[in-house]
Symmetry: C2
Subunit: 683 residues, 2 copies
C-alpha cells in the first residue's frame, strides 16, 4: 500500500502449538512436609465444580447445575419435573398400552360424535334416511381397514418415522412432501376445536400442554386411565345394548317433535354423511409419524398398536351403528346419541353417569394425539430447515418442548377465535386428513417401484389401493364441503367456511417453509468452510487494532485501557471532544492515568458523538490497514434499570452502528458498582 | 494459590512506551524516480477523511460528517437547519431587540387576559367594585418596579445566570435552591396552558418547540415580528383610546345583562384580583436565568432589556386600567375586554382585526418564554447532577435540544390532560412565580451580607424589600387560591385544584432531584480514580483468558477463533454438546479448522446451553486465576430482522447473563452475509 506504519504490527506470533485444554492441565498441590526443604506435591487435574470428567478435553454437566434458582424456576420444576438425562431417552419410550392411550384418544373421541353427526346429516332427508347409517359405518370401517393395511407397510418401510411428510418428500419430491406436512399440521391444530366450549377448550389445551411438557411417557401414564375408562364404558354400553336389542328390551324414545325433511335424499347427501363419519381415522397418521416414540422393536410395536386401535374402533363403530339402526334412534336437539343409548341401556343408574363423564373426559383429552404428532413433525421439518431450528430442541423432559408450547398457543388462539364451534373447521379437517393419507400412500407406491425386493408388486398394489381409496375420500370431502354459505367467514358476505380454504392455507404454509429453507441455505452458504488452495500454509495472523473511546477519565476508562493492553500492544485511545474544557482535563490527567497509550482528541465542533467517532474508526481501519478494529468500551453497569437512563446511551448507539459495519468488533468492559470483594480476591 | 498452570500466562509484556497516536504517524509515499535505483519518497501524515488536523494528536470533525444520510435526516435538516460550530456560540447570542421578543412574549400575553381576569373577579362583588381595577393595576406596577429594581442587582451580581435556583442555592443552601428550581420549572410548564384550546395549544407547542430547536437567535428572529406587531397594536389602541376618552368620544356598550353580585366586597376579594393581575411578571425570572444568552456586555444588556420590558408592561397595564375605569367597561360573557376596547377605538375597521389577530398570535407564542427559561435551567441542574446529564447537551443549533424536546412533550401532555382550560393551574402558577422571586431576593440579601463591597447595605435593603414584597404576594396567592372546590380534581370529590398542590409537587421534585444526585455521587465514587501507594510501580498486567464458545464449526466460528488468537496466545474453545453427533462432527473437523486451539467439550445431558456454559466459564476463571475471561462469540448478522428469529437466541441470553457477572467481557465478532468485497480489499 506504499506506506510503512511507524509502529509495525506487533501481534504477529508463531503458529500456536497443540496444547492441553483447560480441563486437562496439571495442578500441583503441596501435600506434606517431612523435613524443611522437602517439597512433596501432588499433581492433579483442576477441579471443575458442577461437572464430571469424561476423558481428555471432555466434561459433563451435572444435574446440580439445573437446580431452580428463583421462585418461578421452582414452580416450573414442580409443574414439569426434574430434567431427564439424554441417555435415558429409551426409558421414555411408550409401551403399546400407553401408546394406544396417546395415539387413539383423538380417534376414540370421534366415536362420541361422528355417529351423531352422520345421523344429523341423514336426518335432513327425513327419518327414513337414517337406516343408511349402518351401510355408511360399514364403508368407514372398510376404508379404515384399507388405510391400516396400507399404513402397516409404511411403518415397516420407514421405521424411523413414516409420516406422510417423510414418505411424500422422499418419493414424490419437495413440494408434495411440504403439502403433506402442511395438511398434517392443519389436522393437528383442528381437532382440539371439536365439541368444546371456549373456557373448557382453553383449560383443556393448557392441561394437555403441561402434561406433554412432562414428557411423552408421563403424558401416556396420565391419559391412560381416562382413555381406558372410556373404552370400557363404551364397550359395556354397546355389549349390553346389543344383548338388550337381541332380547327386545331396548327402548329409546323418539324426540317429541320430528323435523320434516329439508332436502331430497341424494347420493351427495350420502357422501357428505360418509365424509363426516370418516373422521375416525386420525390416529393412523400420528402413529406413523411417532414410530420412534415406541419401545423397541419400534415398527412391530407401532404396527400392532395401529391394528389394535383399528379393531377397537371398528368394533365400536359397527356396534353403535347396529344399535342405532336396530333401536331406530332419531337424534334429539338437546341430548346426544351416546346419552340416549346409555339411558336406554343403563336407565338412570350410576353407570349412565360414568358413561357420560368418561365421554366428556375423552373429548377434553382428544387434543392429546395432536401433541404426539405436531411437535415431532415440526422437529422433522426443523431438522430439514423448513421451520426454525429451535423446534428440533428437546426440553428438560426430552419432549419437543418448543413445538408443544407453540401447538398449545396456536390451539388456544384458534379456540378463542372460533369460539369452540364445531362446524367451521370440520371441512378443512376431513380434506386435510385424507390428503395426507393419499400423498403418503402414493409415495409408498413410488417407494416400492424404486426399492423393489420380494413381493414388491403386491405391496405396491396394497398401497395403491390405499392411495386410491383415500384420494377418492379426499375428493368427496372437498366437494361435499367446498363452501358452506350458512357459516359466513364475515357476517353478511356470501363467502362461507369450507374446504376451499385449504387452497389458500396450504400454499401459504409452503411459501413459509420454502422462505425459511432459503434463508438457512443462504446462511449456510455464507458461513460455509471451504478448503482453499492456501490450506496448509500457515495463515497470516489477523491484523487487529484496539481503540478505547474515552468519554471521561475514570476507573471504568482506566480498566478498559488496562484490559485493551492485555489484548494488544497496539492500543490507542480516542476522546470525542464536545466540551473543550473536559477535553483539556482529560489531556492533563493523561500522563498520570493513560498507561502510556497514545490519546487522540477528535474535536466535534458540531457536538455530535457517534458520527465523528464512526468516521474516525473507519479512517483508522483504512490507515492502519487493519482487518478488524476492536472498540473497547468502558461500560458502567448501574444497580437498577432506571439508573441506566441517567447515563448516556451513546455507547448503545455506537454498538448498534458498528454491528452492521463489517470489520469492527465491539467489546464492552463492564464495571460493576460493588466489586471490591472480587478485586480483593484477585489482588 | 498453590498451583502452577501448565501454560503460564503469555501475555505479559514490557510497559508500553510513549508512542505517536495514529494521526501523527508518518506515511512514506514514493514520489518520483529519475533513475532506476532512486527512491525518492515523501513523508506525510496519514489522511483522515472528514477531519482537519489540529496539532499533535488532535483532529477536528468537519461539517461534512453531519450531512443527512436518510430521508428522515434530510427532513430534520430542513426543519432544524445546518449545525452550528461551537465557536460561533457568541454569534448565536440575542440582541436586546430579539431578547425582548423572546423573554417578554409571556408577560405581554398576560396583558391580553390579566385585566379581564381581574375585572371578572371584581364583578363577583357587583359592578361598583370594578373601579378597584385601577388601584390594583397601580399596585401591580409598583410590585413590578420593586421586583425589577431588585432583580437588576441580581443580574449584575450573577452575570453568568442569576436565576432563583443559582442565587438561592448559592446563598441559602441546597434545599432552598431546589425549591426555587422546582417552582420555576412549574412556571415554565404552566403558561402554555393559559387561554388556548387543545388542538391550537398542541399545534402552538409543536411550532414553538421546532422554532427553538433552530437555536435561540433564530427563534428570536421568528418571534420578533408578532411580538412587536402586538406591541404596536396595543400601544395604538391604548393611545387612541386615551385620546378618545379625553375627548369624550369613547363609548363602550355594557353587556345586555349585568349579573347580580354573588359575594360581598371584601379585602380577600381585592387580594384575589391582585393575585390574578400579577401574572404579568414572569419574564423577569426568565431574563435572570438567561443572561448568558445575551450579546456582551451580557449583564448590561440583560438589565436594560428587563427595564425596557417593565416600562412597556407598566405603560400598557396602567393605560388599560385607566381606559377600563374611564369608559366603565363591564366584562362580557362572550367578548374579551381587549376586543371591546378595540371595537370602541377602531369601530369595525381593519385595524380592529389587526388588534384581534395580533392578540391571538401573542397568546400562541406566550409559550416561547418558557423555552428560553426551562431548558437553560434544566441544563444548570443537569450540570449540578440534579437532572440527567443529557439535559446539558447542546444540539446541532447550540440550543439545549433535549430540554426543549422534553418541555415540548410535557407541555403538550399537560394541554391534553387539562383540555387547555385556563383556571385549573393558575393558582399554582402565581404561587410558584412569587415563591421563586422571594427565594431569589432573600438569597441576594444573604449574598450582600457575605460579599459586602461598596454600598452593600443599600443593595441588601433593596433586595430585602423585593423579598418582602414578593413573599407577601406569594402568601396572598397561596391563601386566596388554596383550594377551589368548584374545580374538583376528580369529579364528585370535594378536593379541588389550588395552590395546595405546590405542597405536593415541590417535595416530589426535590425527592427526584436528590435521588438523581445521590446516584451520580455514588457512581462517581464507584468510578473515581484514586492514586494509591503502589502508584509509579509498573502495574501487573491484566491476566486475561480468551474463550470461544463454538455452537457449530462454520466460517463465523473460525473467524472468531482467528480473531481470538489476535487477542491472546491463551485461547481455548468450548462446545456445549446437547447433540452427541454434532459434538463428534466438530471434534472430527477440529484438527483441520481449529487453528491449534484446544477444544473442550462440555456435555450437557440435560440439553441446556447457558447454565453449563456459565458454570464452565466461572470455573475456568477460578482455575486459571484470571482477572477477566473474554468470551468471543461468533455472531452471524442476517440481512433482515425476522431472520434473527431463525437463529438461536442463546448468544443474547449469554451476553445478558455475563453483563451482570463481574469478571467477564463479551465480544461479538459480527460476520456479515456479504462481505466478500471487504475481504478481498484486505486480502
Amino acid at each position: 500500500m506504499g506506506r510503512a506504519p511507524a509502529n509495525p504490527p506487533e501481534d504477529e506470533q508463531p503458529p500456536t502449538l497443540r496444547r492441553h485444554g483447560p480441563t486437562d492441565r496439571r495442578v500441583i498441590q503441596p501435600v506434606r512436609r517431612f523435613k524443611p526443604g522437602d517439597a512433596v506435591v501432588r499433581v492433579t487435574r483442576p477441579k471443575y465444580a458442577g461437572f464430571q470428567r469424561r476423558g481428555a478435553g471432555r466434561i459433563e454437566a451435572s444435574l446440580t447445575l439445573e437446580e431452580p434458582r428463583s421462585p418461578w424456576g421452582r414452580l416450573w420444576r414442580v409443574l414439569v419435573g426434574t430434567p431427564i438425562h439424554s441417555e435415558l431417552e429409551i426409558e421414555e419410550r411408550l409401551t403399546k398400552k400407553k401408546a394406544l392411550a396417546v395415539f387413539s384418544s383423538d380417534a376414540l373421541s370421534s366415536v362420541a360424535y361422528a355417529p351423531q353427526e352422520t345421523l344429523v346429516v341423514l336426518l335432513a332427508a327425513g327419518t327414513a334416511a337414517l337406516v343408511w347409517s349402518l351401510p355408511i359405518s360399514i364403508a368407514v370401517v372398510l376404508l379404515l381397514a384399507i388405510v391400516v393395511f396400507s399404513y402397516r407397510q409404511t411403518i415397516y418401510a420407514y421405521p424411523s418415522g413414516g409420516g406422510s411428510y417423510i414418505v411424500a418428500h422422499d418419493n414424490l419430491g419437495e413440494r408434495p412432501g411440504l403439502v403433506a406436512s402442511a395438511v398434517d399440521q392443519l389436522v393437528s391444530a383442528v381437532p382440539t376445536l371439536l365439541p368444546l366450549r371456549v373456557e373448557l377448550g382453553v383449560a383443556a389445551v393448557a392441561l394437555v400442554t403441561l402434561a406433554n411438557l412432562r414428557g411423552i411417557r408421563e403424558s401416556g401414564s396420565i391419559f391412560a386411565a381416562p382413555t381406558y375408562l372410556f373404552l370400557l364404558a363404551m364397550l359395556s354400553t354397546i355389549g349390553l345394548g346389543l344383548f338388550r336389542l337381541a332380547t327386545g328390551t331396548l327402548y329409546i324414545p323418539p324426540p317429541a317433535e320430528i323435523p320434516s325433511p329439508v332436502e331430497p335424499f341424494t347420493i351427495f347427501l350420502l357422501l357428505r354423511a360418509f365424509a363426516v363419519g370418516s373422521a375416525v381415522m386420525t390416529g393412523t397418521e400420528a402413529i406413523s409419524n411417532g414410530i420412534p416414540a415406541f419401545k423397541p422393536p419400534e415398527s412391530r410395536n407401532a404396527s400392532q398398536t395401529l391394528v389394535g386401535m383399528a379393531c377397537i374402533l371398528a368394533a365400536m363403530f359397527l356396534g353403535l351403528s347396529v344399535l342405532i339402526t336396530g333401536a331406530g334412534i332419531v337424534p334429539h336437539a338437546n341430548e346426544t346419541v351416546i346419552s340416549l343409548l346409555a339411558h336406554g341401556v343403563f336407565g338412570d343408574s350410576a353407570l349412565y353417569y360414568v358413561v357420560q363423564a368418561s365421554t366428556v373426559l375423552i373429548l377434553v383429552l382428544a387434543a392429546n394425539t395432536a401433541y404426539a404428532d405436531f411437535p415431532r413433525l415440526a422437529s422433522l421439518l426443523a431438522r430439514d430447515e423448513y421451520l426454525p431450528k429451535q423446534l428440533a430442541f428437546r426440553g428438560e423432559r426430552l419432549a419437543f418442548s418448543n413445538g408443544i408450547l407453540i401447538l398449545g398457543v396456536l390451539s388456544a388462539l384458534l379456540i378463542a377465535v372460533f369460539g369452540g364451534s364445531t362446524g367451521a373447521l370440520l371441512p378443512l379437517y376431513a380434506v386435510a386428513v385424507f390428503a395426507a393419507f393419499t400423498l403418503s400412500q402414493a409415495g409408498m407406491v413410488v417407494h416400492w417401484r424404486k426399492v423393489r425386493g420380494s413381493g414388491w408388486r403386491l405391496k405396491a398394489v396394497i398401497n395403491g389401493i390405499g392411495a386410491a381409496a383415500t384420494g377418492l375420500v379426499s375428493l368427496i370431502a372437498a366437494s361435499t364441503n367446498f363452501m358452506n354459505r350458512e357459516l359466513p367467514i364475515v357476517a353478511g358476505l356470501p363467502i362461507g367456511w369450507g374446504s376451499w380454504l385449504v387452497l389458500l392455507i396450504v400454499p401459504a404454509f409452503i411459501w413459509l417453509f420454502r422462505s425459511i429453507k432459503a434463508h438457512y441455505v443462504d446462511a449456510e452458504k455464507d458461513t460455509a468452510l471451504v478448503l482453499t488452495s492456501s490450506d496448509g500454509v500457515p495463515e497470516r495472523p489477523l491484523r487487529n487494532v484496539v481503540v478505547v473511546p474515552i468519554a471521561r477519565l475514570n476507573r471504568p476508562a482506566v480498566q478498559a485501557l488496562r484490559y485493551a493492553q492485555a489484548l494488544s500492544s497496539d492500543v490507542t485511545a480516542v476522546h470525542v471532544a464536545t466540551d473543550p474544557k473536559r477535553a483539556a482535563d482529560i489531556e492533563a490527567a493523561w500522563p498520570t492515568w493513560g498507561r502510556g497509550v497514545p490519546l487522540t482528541i477528535v474535536e466535534s465542533p458540531y457536538r455530535s458523538l457517534t458520527r465523528p467517532l464512526l468516521q474516525y474508526l473507519a479512517e483508522l481501519r483504512r490507515n492502519e490497514a487493519a482487518e478488524t478494529v476492536t472498540v473497547v468500551l468502558p461500560e458502567y453497569v448501574p444497580d437498577t434499570w432506571w439508573q441506566h437512563l441517567l447515563h448516556g446511551q451513546s455507547a448503545q448507539f455506537l454498538k448498534l452502528s458498528l454491528l452492521f459495519t463489517p470489520g469492527f468488533v465491539v467489546t464492552s468492559v463492564p464495571v460493576h458498582p460493588v466489586d471490591d470483594d472480587v478485586e480483593q480476591a484477585l489482588a
